[in-house]
Amino acid sequence: MAQLFDGLKVLELAGHAAGPFAGKLFADYGADVIKVEPPEGDTARHEGPFKDDIPDPETSALFLHLNTHKKSVTLDVTTEEGRKILRRLIDQADIVLESYRPGQLAEWGLSYDELSKDHPDLVLASITPFGQSGPWRDYRGSEITLQALGGPMHLNGSAYREPLKSGGYVAQYHCGIATAYACVAARFRVAMGGKGDHIDQAIYEAQAGFRDRRTVYTTGYSYTGFVAKRQPPGSRVAMGPRPTADGYANIYAGGTKHFFAALDLIGRPDLKEHPDATKNIVAYGEEFAAEAEGSWMAWLIQRDKRTAVAETQEIGLLGGAILTTEDLITDEHYRSRGVWDTVEHPKAGTYEGPGRPLILSGTPRQAPQRAPLLGEHNAEVYGALGLSDDLERLRSEGVI
């Protein structure tokens, strides 16, 4: 079946989460993605969580998730012969994703100017913590520190406690998508007769451009001179996360245009007569706030989170249940939509994982395919370069 990226050749020199997620988006939708790993493998292979908690570079969930549909070759690019082979792989690629420290490729004689001299279509994307230029170019960055510096971390959590990072590796995943977008846009320019480019994607800058409050509130600061702050829990009446019988739900009732319907729903139509009932939520008096909040909490605690959401959706309230991973995997909605891919893996067994982010009417996505074993495609990929006879030697010399 025709795929979105039929014929597109991507070379992935990037490790951990950001670059590999960009590569996954291409691979899952039909591109030919070759992942070049150091002899010991991508760092994600060593991170876990592992199948049965037994460390094994073939069963790290982070790696298994991020590298579906890719081919894996090993290559020691710190050797000269390794770099010669790397150059040949790059010359065959439409898109190269790399996450070496800034300047590393140039030191190896593989700068964009050099690589694109005879290959003006080439799209090279460099993903780094802080970018290819600037005073912090060589600073170290990781998920938590880049969220702290660049993202909305100072707003996550309670006014009474320390700031919280966002979950997992969302800054890196976000950066990976931003990179994939830039690469496709550059390929589109190539298709229209233009040139490729060297894309400089900093995770830090992607966080600074993060729509999750960051761009909204920097604009807000620029408008008002005030910074945003973490708020006290439960500070908005009948609005936001609250306990339910089986967990938590986050529903917006107080101050919304459906507030009266909500008061009917929770059996407090009398509160509609209160002079505060039509006011802005921040202007409720103490007595009204206590009455409305108390009745709202009492109503919620008698219901399961998904029931509370279903009933309030009926009257037009915005809301959602706060699900755990178990709730999520067993949830009827996602299951009925076929969100989960079943993947079979020789070492990790059979498991389910999140499938498509996109459903395309013209080019439906191909069947799921597991992540590669380390160096699984050495013979195939290097064979295609005409190196079949050298494989043994390269292996014994530690180049692959």
Binding site: D53, L149, S158, P163, K165, G168, A185, E352
Partner: protein, 449 residues
């Protein structure tokens, strides 16, 4: 080699009927790289939570909200002015580089104009509740008959089918419904202390731009468009893949992680001098731990047998984090950040908006840019999150006002005659403001004298 290339999406025209945060963020990013984005927005009803045209706050309330650190609907100088819908920070943060036409797709005249527009665009982007698009009769099946090259991106919260199809929610509700809210909570706290994040909107923005551009690339080859269904929930799910696999492979339900890392410690935020000042520190190796202890001047931690290896540090991270907090507390935040980086420790200050906007790194790279909106003033805005070495790029036009491009779009692009256009204006269907009946000017100070 500083040669300059055209922006990649020059010549691509996009219509958007988007609301709130996620949809407009997709078009923001597409416009930044050259697409001509036309925002189709009614003046005959107020799009909720979009331009902030509903429940407009008075100057006093706006100032109080901003002062208490709530910036979801802020105005320049806290003044809603006479046209708060052109002064809202949440809207103006995404609406640069766009054009706006007044058009209510639910009315016959609006539908007619909208269908004419569909003939002229490459892409349509919407993020409404699915039933809205069905009621308007503008599903892909209908529109592709008018323009077979059309690419239509639909961004419902949960999907075009399924039990939650018409569930209404913001990014923070989606983050709950996919497990992110639970995951990012305090390990010793409850989700109501976690605050609300709009991560779903941020992820959907870049994913939507990726999807649309990919479909454009495909169309170049096939000549035909397609529909892309991208629920916010499903664009977000892959970002939690490893946590989901831990459940499907090992049966482990992820507990709230807060600032913890699976393997590393210290990996958290630590207090420094001053009010609400924090620094994130992330130590992976023994070498980095040694460097951390050197900078903090805590040889006793280095010698402590509980902290000798990465595994041991993770095992004893409670006491370790307490000890590190004690040591960081007396530091000036920025000093500690640079000292730790110089010593090879991965560290980053927790920066609020003011600190971010003074970041020497972002200033050096020219991330922030000034834009002037006529009648609103000159302000600094967040810029473009990606740099291309051979394609210098800047914000081109200021945040778009309601209906700012009515005339050029109706007459020049869609071919309306002057008389037809004037008639739409006269009947209140096309214009640049909401009527007094629709939006009573309750926020304006009472006329003095």
């Amino acid at each position: 080699m500083a040669e300059s290339n055209p922006l990649p999406l020059e010549g691509v025209r996009i219509a958007e009927i988007t609301v709130v945060w996620a949809g407009p963020h997709v078009t923001q990013i597409l416009a930044e790289w050259g697409a001509d984005v036309i925002r189709v927005e009614p003046i005959t009803h107020v799009q909720p939570y979009s331009r902030g045209g509903e429940r407009v706050q008075s100057r006093e309330v706006a100032r109080r909200a901003a002062e208490s650190g709530v910036l979801t609907g802020a105005y320049p100088d806290n003044d809603p002015g006479e046209d708060p819908w052109n002064r809202n920070n949440a809207f103006n943060a995404h609406s640069r580089n766009k054009r706006s036409m007044a058009c209510d797709i639910m009315l016959p005249e609006g539908r007619e104009a909208f269908l004419k527009l569909i003939e002229k665009v490459d892409v349509l982007i919407e993020n409404n509740v699915p039933v809205t698009i069905e009621r308007a009769g503008i599903t892909y099946d209908v529109l592709k008959e008018i323009n077979p090259r059309l690419i239509m991106l639909r961004m419902p919260a949960y999907g075009l089918e399924g039990p939650y199809k018409n569930y209404r929610g913001f990014g923070t509700h989606v983050e709950g419904m996919i497990g992110h809210h639970w995951l990012r909570g305090y390990p010793d706290g409850s989700p109501d202390e976690t605050g609300e994040a709009f991560t779903a909107d941020a992820l959907a923005g870049v994913m939507g731009a990726f999807a649309v551009t990919s479909a454009l690339l495909k169309r170049h080859e096939t000549g035909v468009g397609q529909q892309i269904e991208m629920p916010l929930a499903e664009a977000f799910l892959p970002a939690l893949g490893e946590w989901i696999l831990d459940y499907t492979m090992n049966g482990r339900v992820a507990e709230p992680q807060g600032n913890l890392h699976r393997n590393r410690a210290p990996h958290s935020v630590f207090p420094t001098q001053g009010e609400d000042q924090w620094i994130a520190i992330d130590v992976a190796t023994d070498e980095e731990f040694r460097a951390l202890c050197d900078v903090l001047g805590t040889p006793e931690l280095l010698a402590d047998e509980r902290f000798q290896t990465a595994v041991a540090r993770k095992q004893h991270e409670g006491p370790l984090n307490e000890a590190v907090s004690e040591a960081t507390r007396s530091w000036v935040n920025d000093d500690l950040f640079h000292r730790l980086q110089a010593a090879g420790v991965t560290a980053g200050s927790v920066h609020n908006e003011a600190a971010l906007m003074q970041s020497p790194q972002l200033l050096d790279r020219g991330f922030f840019e000034d834009l002037t909106i006529e009648g609103v003033g000159t302000h600094t805005y967040p810029g473009i999150m990606t740099k291309w070495a051979n394609t210098p790029n800047h914000l081109r036009t200021p945040p778009v006002k309601l209906g700012q491009h009515n005339e050029e779009i109706y007459i020049d692009l869609l071919g309306y005659s002057r008389e037809e256009y004037d008639s739409l204006v006269k009947r209140g269907l096309v214009g640049t403001t909401y009527s007094e009946e629709l939006v009573p000017r309750t926020w304006l100070p009472k006329q003095e004298q």
